[in-house]
Amino acid sequence: MIAGDTIHLAIRNLRQAKLRTALTTMGVAIGIASLAGMVSLGVGLQEQLVGRFLDSGLFDVITVMPQTSPIARAFGGRMAGGRRDRGPATPPATGGAPEPAARPLDDAAISALRALQDVKDASPTIVVPVQVTYGTVSEFTAARGVPLSSADESAFRTPKYGAFFANDTDHACLLILDLAKRLTTGDPKDLIGHDLTISYASTSADGSPLGFGMPTLVKQVQAAYRIVGIVEREPGPGGGIAGPGLSGVMLPLSQARAIDDTVVTGVQQLIHPSGAAKVFTAVTVRVKRAQSTKDVEDRIKAMGFSAFSISDALDQAKRAFVLLDILLSLIGSIALAVSSLGIVNTMVMSILERTREIGIMKAIGGSDADIRRIFLVEASAIGVLGGITGVALGWAVGRVINFGANWYIESQGGATGNLFSLPLWLVSGAIAFSWLVSLAAGVYPATRAAKLDPIQALRHD
């Protein structure tokens, strides 16, 4: 029997019982819709979350430290570092795997990092302790240098109020919302455009003596910085060993570096004034795409630095999503399992109805294999048709839920997005799965039909 004839005959049989075929197909469609919808939800959530992670500026960032950094060594090079360490370079750790020669993290190193492929920018991590004063309120906090290249990080792209730095040379600052609320009793928004006084202890010549018996070469320096924007929280991991969240104010990187050059943070510094070239404790490298983070990290390590990123954490999150996907598809499969029983039921009914017809077909030369194939093709047709309808149904329901969810999220002031994602692999996979399940459901009825005794079947009414 020619394959085309088998398909033709199977479709003719399905058309004979239009209502039953339609109902069974709808059952499969609902099963596939629930399965595809669930997986689609898992994929959509993953895309949303990973997308937000990537957007957060956490995953395209590599923290680079000298191998000699006691912090880097203490944490096996896996912790972000930022504490000031201006002491002489300690020899590389002995023992363990041979590593590239340690390099100091100076301006030359930053240029080298910046020149790496896929690297967007490399900037030293500079965090200085400062006192900020607005009106009569004073707070001790940390000021962090932010390179202009960070303008596209989501926190800076859409600050809570105001805007990002216009250039690197202005005496401008961004406030963290928390600090801004402490500085004013009014609306933090009104701080925008006002000056903030930043003071710090400095070895620089200009400035006023501190008093309190401190050596006279330490001066108190005050400068006014215009508040240009307020952000919700400090983005990225670049906050130093203290971690993000502790710095309350952000300055353009060159401003922060200028302060950093003279700021006094410890007595040690006064006893051993550093005459050597400026060495940084940590450099933040931003890569162009989060996908290349791991790659760039490895190359930085090969250059002789310690490097750390949290792209590993992203991988783990993705693994967690695989589990979520499996769980969601199991839930979705329940409906499909029910509908596959529907197929079995329909096919068995169909055999009962067509017993005589099967007998005739066998009597005039149809083989067992022919009969089995006709029924398997019928089951397949239900599966493929149900699969296509189901994917369309799942998509439509997903759009509706998505619309409703986004409407709610928007009303709550959240960021909207696609909760359901239906990539091509899911569409084709769902239809293929529907076909396979239907085929499996058709095996028993088809075998039963093929095994019918022709004489008994011909006597059947």
């Binding site: 004979q16 077909m361 030369g365 067992d368």
Partner: protein, 232 residues
């Protein structure tokens, strides 16, 4: 007389059914032959085993004892796929109740057996039309069985039985559901097929007069055995 060319030969053929504790001997030690080109009638009361014998000849059933040689192969030993091949190539079957597929047109019913034989659609449609023309139903080829009279349906069934050009035609009470006038028409057609096309025909009937009128030879069966043979 020359050695008859037997296309069928049954030796001690038995078909026993187990019905609970008892064994029903539908066919019990039948030995007979069918010669090529012969028109043979099997008569007997219901339950005499004539239909059982026909079903065995048709390859629809398997013997439980003895042997049934058909075209040089023992039907008792054929595998299931070979059995369907035998049904498809060697025999055409005509039933009392026509057994047409009600949802198919006359032409599609005729073409169906060719479909199982793997004949391409265009070829089988052409041949189906030719066969319907031969039985006088050419203009009615697109009609479904319920739009046809009993005689017409049986003519469609005859056309279908001839579709794969078998050399043996098996008819189980072909006129059992027909009035006498239509019966004569069907019998005349079968006789023509036997005489003009040279097809061997084995017909089961309970009508001894009909058998005597059309068949060359009549075997009378009783309780699963052949009790007499009549030449006409």
């Amino acid at each position: 007389m020359s050695v008859p060319d037997h296309i069928l030969e049954a030796r001690s053929l038995a078909r026993h059914y187990r019905m609970g504790e008892t064994t029903v001997k539908a066919l019990d030690g039948v030995s007979m032959t069918v010669a090529a080109g012969e028109f043979l009638a099997l008569i007997g009361t219901s339950g005499s085993g004539k239909s059982t014998l026909l079903n065995l000849m048709a390859g629809l059933d398997r013997p439980t004892g003895g042997s049934l040689m058909a075209f040089g192969q023992n039907l008792a030993e054929l595998s299931s796929p070979d059995m369907s091949l035998y049904r498809r190539q060697r025999v055409g079957i005509i039933f009392q109740s026509f057994n047409l597929i009600s949802t198919m047109t006359a032409a599609d019913n005729v073409a169906l057996s060719m479909m199982f034989a793997g004949v391409p659609r265009a070829d089988r449609d052409t041949r189906a039309q030719q066969l319907l023309d031969v039985v006088g139903l050419g203009p009615r080829s697109t009609h479904r069985p319920k739009e046809l009279s009993g005689g017409e349906q049986q003519r469609v069934a005859i056309a279908r039985a001839l579709a794969n050009a078998p050399s043996l035609l098996l008819a189980d009470e072909p006129t059992g559901n027909l009035d006498s006038r239509t019966s004569r028409d069907i019998m005349a057609r079968l006789k023509a097929i036997n005489e003009q096309d040279g097809k061997t025909i084995v017909m089961v009937t309970h009508d001894a007069a009909l058998a005597a009128q059309y068949a060359h030879r009549t075997l009378t069966m009783l309780d699963g055995a052949i009790v007499s043979e009549t030449l006409s």
